[in-house]
């Protein structure tokens, strides 16, 4: 009698369990990229709460299986394998570019759709057999470089200099920025490199100043981006200084202080959501996200990185609904994953916090810089909307 009861219970439980849609999430909640990964993880915790309250997607419960990769590629790959074995329908993540690149072969082999939260264009370009399965939400360097050059052209700047990290981040920016600048008739008069750990960039800065450029772009991220800017100011450089969206966090303002006043940078629209004109497509979605996040984690706690995670879910949710009409994950998981991938690629004009997504067979980023980037100026230790490109 008792045995029957247990067997029945197990059957009932497994029937319920089959109803649950598992979505795998990999983020860097610890390690050097933690300041990006923590808001991403928080966003999924918040989503989980919302979904538990409202009853999931198309009548099915959704469960996020969130794993931490400790900012480490090996760990990210291991997590991805584990998630695939757990039978997730899709994988969102991870925070950093190298780890995301490491995950691509795994999801391609298992034929699981993946939405990365990392920046580099290499993650989704070119769309080959492996990247067929991969999408991403953050703006690429190329997209942001386009915004910067458009802004420089609009200001009548003729000559520019570049100084950036001597790693993948800085090299990526150098490549895209210099190509874009030359294409728009700007003259790149100097291209310098420095290391994140450098203690002095006087040599590079002197070389830049000697060439007298109208503007300087600093291709660096986080607080190490302060050093060249301070050195430029100390050596009396009076032209415009541009930074990349890699500095759009409060730590940059804290360490930079008055040295970074007046800096121009491209950013996702959510950074200055409340200052956007009401016609800007992302404004309403971004404010909604900020309000929800701050209600849960405190005023001023939101960051642009968590919003990339939110965007990934905004893309995945309607795709899940459509895919559920075509296939049943409980019966044929592989067919459902394939259907889900097709439905993600079929996303059109989806308004998210960082822009408007329209994927296609060739474009798995799906953003135009006019919707996905705004120019921001640092003024009084705050981000101030300078202009939009629409």
């Amino acid at each position: 009698m008792k045995r029957w009861l247990v067997a029945l219970l197990v059957l009932a439980l497994s029937a319920v369990a089959q109803e649950v849609l598992k979505v795998g999430v990999v983020v860097s909640a610890t390690g050097p990229a933690a300041s990006l990964g923590i808001p991403e993880r928080n966003t999924f915790l918040m989503l989980q709460e919302m979904l538990d309250r409202t009853g999931g997607v198309a009548g099915r419960k959704v469960q996020f299986v969130i794993l931490d990769d400790a900012s480490d590629t090996t760990q990210a790959v291991r997590n991805t394998r584990r998630l695939v074995e757990e039978g997730v329908v899709a994988i969102i993540g991870t925070t950093t570019t190298p780890a995301s690149l490491g995950m691509i072969p795994v999801v391609a082999e298992a034929k699981v759709p993946m939405i990365s939260l990392a920046a580099s264009k290499d993650i989704i370009h070119p769309v080959d057999a492996q990247r067929f399965w991969v999408f991403k939400t953050p703006q690429t360097e190329e997209l942001m470089a386009r915004a910067i050059v458009a802004d420089m052209v609009a200001r009548g700047i003729k000559t520019v200099a570049y100084i950036g990290f001597n790693d993948a981040y800085g090299e990526g920016w150098a490549r895209f920025f210099e190509a874009e600048a030359k294409g728009k008739g700007l003259q790149v008069v100097a291209s310098e490199r420095y290391a994140r750990t450098d203690t002095s960039v006087t040599g590079q800065v002197l070389r830049i100043i000697a060439r007298r450029p109208d503007a300087v772009l600093i291709g660096a991220s986080g607080t190490p981006a302060v050093l060249p800017q301070r050195t430029l100011r100390e050596r009396g450089y009076a032209g415009l200084i541009y930074q990349t969206h890699g500095v759009a966090n409060p730590d940059f303002l804290r360490v930079g202080g008055k040295d970074v006043e007046g800096t121009l940078l491209p950013a996702g629209p959510i950074l200055v959501a409340e200052q956007l004109p009401s016609t800007f497509p992302s404004k309403r979605v971004a404010l909604d996200y900020i309000q929800r996040y701050e209600a849960k984690y405190g005023i001023g706690s939101y960051s642009t990185f968590g919003a990339h995670a939110w965007d990934a879910w905004l893309i995945l949710k309607p795709a899940l609904e459509r895919a559920l009409k075509r296939a049943d994950p409980a019966k044929d998981l592989a067919a459902f994953r394939a259907a889900l991938r097709d439905e993600i690629e079929a996303t059109r004009n989806l308004v998210a916090t960082h822009g408007v997504f329209t994927f296609s067979k060739e474009d798995h980023l799906g953003l135009r810089f006019e919707d996905a980037a705004v120019m921001v100026r640092i003024e009084g230790g705050r981000w101030k909307l300078e202009r939009t490109f629409r």
Binding site: G31, P32, A33, A34, S35, I163, N166, E192, R193, Y194, A195, R196, T197, D198, T199, S200, V201, T202, G203, Q204, L206, R207, A210, G222, T223, P224, V226, L227, E234, R235, G236, D251, V255, G257
Partner: protein
């Protein structure tokens, strides 16, 4: 290249060079006395300004618990009456930190003493028990400690940079801030201090003797343990003070130590890990070389700086003679 740029580059190279120089001196001193290549010296340098930032914000830094834990291990290993010194030191350090949370000027003293205590405890706990081991074993231990301390730095202080306020703000002239002058003055006075210490004090002479011939020194009553502790405390004191003086100029972060230490090491190698004046001059050379390569070929700077090692090592290998064991 005109005169202005030249003078800026020279000043910049000098300012960086003297810091590498102080680290190189510490490395040579520690190596001569204990045969340890003190790879984690960069981490000791990094702990000082970051602990200071934490104290100034009224928080106790994680480095304090690390130091107390090592102090505890030291006391256990020493046992008996020898254990009294680390225990008293640890308690004193803890009380000083509680006081320093409220009093900013004390925080500077606390940060320096913390690093010195940590340095000596590191020697006592990790290196002293393996005395008599080969230089290679020491090196393995040192590299392990460097990785561990850097990882702990990330845990204690997070991935971002911090910038303590300078002691002296403003510029003397274009290209040289008062803080930079302070760094140069500190380097000059430490050089003079070390010279006087080794030349005229009994302790300094004993250290030199221990460095010259360890067996002979022991025969004449100089304990290699005390010599090692003194060497480590001098090295950590120099590292801590350099860190505090440098941090306002370069921003402090958990990853800052390694490159500084490595360049100090290149300078020390140029001096053959034996000669103080050559090591210091080597450090100035590294600083100047770095400043000029960053002007002419910034993309290859690090590679070129470490390429400096090649002729130095070549020279050392030519000069080396086989020693009969």
């Amino acid at each position: 290249m005109d005169a202005t740029i030249l003078s800026f580059l020279l000043l910049d190279g000098l300012q960086n060079g003297v810091v590498y120089g102080l680290l190189a001196l510490s490395l040579v001193l520690v190596f001569a006395v204990t045969r340890v290549i003190l790879v984690p010296i960069g981490e000791l340098l990094m702990f000082a300004p970051l602990s200071l930032v934490w104290l100034l914000e009224g928080k106790l830094p994680g480095t304090l618990w690390l130091a107390l834990a090592l102090g505890g291990a030291w006391a256990l290993m020493a046992r008996g009456r020898g254990g009294l010194l680390p225990l008293l030191g640890g308690v004193g350090l803890f009380l000083l930190f509680l006081l320093a949370k409220e009093a900013p000027p004390l925080a500077y003293v606390a940060a320096v003493l913390l690093v010195v205590y940590l340095g000596v405890a590191t020697y006592r706990v990790f290196f002293q028990p393996m005395r008599g081991a080969t230089v290679l074993s020491f090196l393995i231990m040192a590299v392990g400690l460097h990785v561990a301390y850097q990882g702990l730095g990330l845990v204690f202080f997070g991935p971002e940079q911090f910038r303590p306020a300078p002691f002296l703000s403003g510029e003397v002239m274009v290209g040289l801030s008062w803080q930079g002058v302070l760094v140069l003055l500190f380097a000059a006075s430490s050089l003079a201090g070390l010279y006087l210490f080794f030349r005229f004090s009994l302790f300094g002479k004993a250290l030199l003797a221990a460095a010259e011939n360890r067996l002979g020194a022991r025969l004449s009553g100089i304990g290699p343990e005390e010599a090692g502790m003194v060497a480590f405390s001098i090295a950590s004191l120099l590292a801590a003070l350099s860190g505090l003086l440098l941090a306002p100029l370069i921003n402090a972060a958990y990853f800052m130590g390694f490159m500084l230490g490595l360049k100090g090491f290149v300078a020390a190698i140029l001096g053959g890990l034996a000669s103080y004046p050559v090591a210091f001059l080597g450090a100035l050379l590294v600083g100047l070389f770095e400043s000029f390569t960053s002007f002419y070929a910034s993309a290859y700077k690090e590679a070129l700086v470490f390429l400096l090692l090649v002729p130095a090592l070549f020279y050392q290998s030519l000069r080396a003679r086989t020693v009969e064991e």
